[in-house]
């Protein structure tokens, strides 16, 4: 077990390091980071002076070495735009994103898993049709459009919900629904196919043959065994959920990491972009590590299996 943990840790570090390196060079292929945060009446020599002072005139290798040296100490430098620690800027916004993504994930499961199970159990019925058709529609509608329409209907027209920002539970409703819409579709479909598959397994057939109630057959046997692929998907989806948060947070003025990252990209605020990549990839790998541990609970056979 200890070897397993160590190897997982090593892999995690490697993945995070590679992500950071890739993004470091990617963003530097783009334009000049200095212009965007300086006033427009700036003289060419002053532009150069700012660039010099910030180290953007150094060779790329030197900049990279400096970045790695800083990053290993948890120092991603100062935001070009806000003149504050880039990592602090990102971490400040992590709780908001976590709360939103968590709610959305919960909502996804509450909406999608029952739909998936029902669709599987009543395969070919109207429920299956509506469930699957509806979830596919959820994947076909761009999130920002859905968000703007919801704001129009529920905030401007009906006045039921706030248009954006944080506050009470009411503030969570629209952003988490919009964020969940897309993922709910995928989760529902996966649940359906996973349950369908287990329903044909021998032990389920055997349980049925024994005359156990349908509820017990499905609840106890089919579902627990379908849980593994669903949980795996949830782990993989968290990264994408953070991506969806970029749009949701922008529309609903949610003070989260996604909105900060996209602003930083637009403003070429490299230290913030890198700090965000760091936080996102660490979060992602931690969640997937958690998912792996969950496997052990769901399926004892995988508990001692060496790292995949």
């Amino acid at each position: 077990m200890r070897i397993y943990l160590l190897s997982r840790l090593g892999q995690t570090l490697l993945v995070v390091f590679l992500s950071l390196t890739a993004v470091f060079f990617l963003v530097r292929l783009g334009g000049d980071p200095v212009l965007l945060f300086l006033p427009m009446d700036i003289q060419a020599k002053d532009v150069n002076e700012f660039r010099q002072r910030l180290g953007f005139n150094d060779p790329l290798a030197v900049q990279y070495a400096r970045f790695v040296a800083g990053a290993t100490r948890g120092d991603f430098g100062e935001s070009l735009r806000y003149k504050r620690s880039a990592l602090a800027l990102v971490l400040e916004r992590l709780p908001a994103t976590g709360a939103l993504a968590g709610t959305a994930l919960g909502l996804t499961f509450v909406l999608a898993v029952p739909v998936g199970i029902l669709s599987a159990v009543r395969r070919g019925s109207l429920v299956d049709y509506l469930g699957m058709g509806g979830t596919l529609l959820g994947q076909a509608i761009p999130g920002f459009w859905l968000g703007l329409m919801m704001i129009y209907v529920f905030s401007v027209r009906l006045g039921w919900l706030p248009t954006g920002g944080t506050g009470g539970p009411a503030h969570y409703v629209m952003p988490s629904l919009v964020l969940a819409a897309f993922y709910a579709a995928r989760t529902a479909r996966l649940t359906r196919s996973a349950v369908l598959e287990t329903l044909n397994e021998e032990y389920v057939l055997a349980a049925r043959a024994k005359g156990l109630a349908e509820r017990v057959v499905i609840g106890k046997h089919a579902l627990k065994n379908s849980a593994i692929p669903i949980v795996t998907l949830a782990g993989l989806e968290t990264g994408q959920l953070l991506g969806g948060a970029v749009i949701t947070e922008t529309i609903f003025a949610w003070p989260g990491v996604g909105r900060l990252t996209v602003q930083a990209l637009l403003n070429r605020d490299f230290p913030v972009v890198l700090a965000a990549v760091f936080v996102i990839s660490v979060t992602y790998t931690l969640i997937n590590f958690g998912v792996d541990l969950l496997y052990g609970w769901l399926d004892p056979r995988t508990r001692v299996v060496a790292p995949a």
Binding site: M132, Q139, S193, L242, V277, Y284
Partner: protein, 271 residues
């Protein structure tokens, strides 16, 4: 029959309609989607000569929506082609040869997976710039991983099968083994992934346009039209509704087809 394949047939119909519109756009409207008379801007649907009305520059909305089908299918086809080839090859190589190249390739895929798709596409667009070609590039760069993972998984399981192992034991060469036995077995997965990714790319274009990196005007891409319609949300609902409906129906149609293909070809595939 209809019970089992109903949704699939609906999807096929929607998809075929979209394809027909894309091919026959010039026959369906006499308007130029790019040229407008801005004295006749923001006409509501049903105006003489403009069944769906006009946009802020007086361009015929019907023409833009119809020609938009071309752009949408073009984006979808190009990105799916690029990602399927690149991702499929990576998956094949990683699965078939394994060893350190396989490990490295799959680590690479992991690195990419740890980064949200939209953010990666945005980062790339921020560097290479805007426009149709660049958005295809960025979507492709962000989208190949799914194929790589699915194909690798399939290859690994095919390799375990008895007849493949038998063929290998009989001295069948590597490339022959790959093309005779492995490729035909993973092809269905590629087709399914492709059809499900297709609509995702079309929807992703809209998201990227929304964030300011989309297909460049005046090209009539549905996503960019939708994103532009925000300026006129409270005055010209048709600018949001028409491309929105076209986009959703097309994506839905292709999704249904993909789903149907999965049900028929490989119900166990999970993506």
């Amino acid at each position: 029959m209809l019970r089992r394949h109903g949704l699939g047939l609906l999807g096929l119909t929607l998809t075929l309609v979209a394809v027909a519109i894309a091919v026959g756009a010039p026959l369906l409207t006499s308007h130029d989607p790019l040229a407008g008379d801005f004295a006749a801007s923001l006409r509501p649907p049903g105006s003489p000569g403009h069944p769906l009305g006009t946009d802020q520059l007086g361009r015929d909305l019907l023409a833009r929506v119809l020609y938009g089908a071309r752009i949408a299918l073009f984006i979808g086809l190009c990105t799916v082609a690029v990602t399927a080839v690149v991702g499929g090859l990576v998956g094949l190589v990683a699965g078939f040869f394994g060893g350190w190249p396989g490990t490295v390739l799959m680590r690479l895929a992991d690195v990419q997976l740890s980064f949200p798709f939209i953010l990666l596409a945005l980062t790339i667009n921020a560097i290479v710039g805007l426009g149709l070609r660049n958005i295809i590039l960025s979507l492709s760069a962000a989208g190949w991983v799914v194929y790589a993972r699915v194909v690798r998984g399939e290859v690994l399981s095919v390799r375990q099968r008895e007849y493949v192992q038998a063929a290998a034991a009989l001295g069948t060469g590597g490339s022959r083994l790959l093309f005779r036995h492995v490729l035909p077995n993973v092809a269905p997965s590629i087709v399914i992934v492709a059809s499900l990714q297709f609509s995702q790319f079309i929807v992703a274009e809209a998201a990227i346009s929304f964030l300011g990196f989309g297909v460049q005007p005046p090209t009539p891409a549905w996503g960019s039209m939708l994103s532009e319609s925000r300026d006129f949300l409270y005055v010209a609902w048709w600018l949001a509704a028409c491309p929105g409906a076209a986009l959703a129906l097309t994506a839905l149609g292709i999704n249904l087809v993909g789903d149907w293909l999965r049900d028929v070809l490989d119900p166990k595939l999970r993506i």
